[in-house]
């Protein structure tokens, strides 16, 4: 297997940052943020692969556990943690977006900046 998977991760990552930095709608920014987080998760998961290996659940047919038979379990574990962190961050972000909409009646950052200036 070659490193082409990482290229798609890089493109996904760039798309995410593009959405976060350049989109004007706050919800679109959040979509960009989620894409970014997913790209990082994909990166880790893609790196865990081993050629000809199976999932990291012990299989008795394979005998004494040997690292060449199982893909690396550490990245999966780390990414479970990262997924939960991502869920929590989006939850907080949506709470903030809802509050912003209630207070300023808009989610477009140009109008938002104007209304913040007006008070």
């Amino acid at each position: 297997m070659s490193n082409f998977a990482y290229i798609s991760v890089a493109i996904l990552l760039t798309l995410g940052i593009y959405g976060m930095v350049l989109k004007k709608n706050l919800v679109k920014k959040l979509i960009g943020m989620t894409i970014l987080q997913v790209a990082v998760i994909m990166f880790f998961i893609a790196s865990a692969v081993k050629g000809g290996a199976t999932v990291p659940v012990l299989d008795e047919r394979l005998g004494i556990p040997n690292p060449i038979h199982y893909i690396s379990p550490l990245q999966h574990c780390l990414m479970l943690t990262a997924i939960v962190v991502g869920v929590a961050t989006s939850g907080v972000a949506f709470a903030l977006a809802i509050l912003i909409y209630r207070r300023f009646k808009t989610l477009d950052e140009g109008i938002l900046l104007q209304r913040m200036g007006e008070k």
Partner: protein, 111 residues
Amino acid sequence: MWPLSIKRPGGVPIKVIIAFFLLIFCGLLIYVSATLPLRGDSLAPMHRDQSAVGSPGASAYYIRNAFRDTATPNMVTAILADYRGYDTLGEETVILTAGLICYLLLRKKER
């Protein structure tokens, strides 16, 4: 960050400049990922039994010893809740924090 995405009269739109930098960033990432050890190579540094200085490689250690240490066939669960259990406690705390923030910001005031 925000002033960047506001239209400025005259000159090159700042959006184009940022997009240009992002393309460079993407190119650099692709270049770097091409120099990484090949995917699927079970002899890559992260899959080895020993690191470059002889300390045990974590991933191989888990695969070899998870069942012996914890009697749990699913290695991911064994790592998640035992070997790196403190990370998982942190993760639960993160989600509790998110719950508390939503409580703090959105719940109606109690009378």
